[in-house]
Symmetry: C2
Subunit: 112 residues, 2 copies
DNA sequence: CTTAAATATAACTATATGATTATATACTTG
DNA sequence: CAAGTATATAATCATATAGTTATATTTAAG
């Protein structure tokens, strides 16, 4: 827990950038696909339905932000989630949206 | 906790939009300022150092997203945090960044 | 060394949005 | 109703970035 609020300008910039990384549907799709474990780029392209170039760019964004890690094995490059807070963040947001939207969002709350 | 992953396209859109709302330093500054309790626009303008028009726009964005609530009292409009997950989200991100950045981020971890 | 496959990068376009300036709206007081 | 204050909105500009297409890089195999 941050001990001395308010955060200074640099800190706010970093926090907002972290949120921005998660503010794209395709990147969330990639993160989701990696919940089960590491996957190479081709698998992720197939899993997400994106183009190879676009997926590669998003993977780089996620990796640069420290969200994902990269492992190279021959021709293939495997990505994995390295920041353990990512699933927690997504879960928190899903829960919040589930409450806000109520039954319209059956994919969030699991409160059937 | 989401019971049936992966989230569909609409859900991903909503989650990413929620993250996007928090992906701006000025909006985080507003949220921070409201940690202590509700404040009117003038106070928030002063607290954040922004212009009145810009603050008003950001407050509208945050309110439309369900992050803030609005209460009108005469000439003044008071905003408050209504989504209890917001502080938790920020705390999670701060903690994560604190670990990643180490001592460079004395404003995150409070680990002095 | 050549070919092929997996991944990354560059160049470009389109779109979204943050900041600013000016103006409008809403409310209070006299 | 007139004047003043608090807040919101409109119009505009500048910038960031997601997606696409084409090409480059890396590695393995023959």
């Amino acid at each position: 827990m941050p001990s001395d609020l308010p955060l200074n300008d640099q800190a706010l910039e970093l926090v907002s950038r972290r949120f921005a990384v998660l503010a794209e549907p395709m990147r969330l799709r990639l993160v989701q696909a990696l919940y089960e474990g590491e996957q190479n780029v081709s698998s992720l392209v197939e899993a997400t339905g994106g183009t190879q170039a676009n997926i590669s760019r998003h993977l780089q964004t996620l990796t640069a932000a420290g969200v994902l890690g990269r492992r190279k094995d021959g021709l293939h490059v495997y990505y994995r989630i390295t920041d353990p807070t990512i699933p927690k963040l997504c879960t928190l947001v899903c829960g919040s949206l589930g409450k806000t939207l109520g039954q319209q969002a059956s994919h969030f709350g699991g409160n059937t």
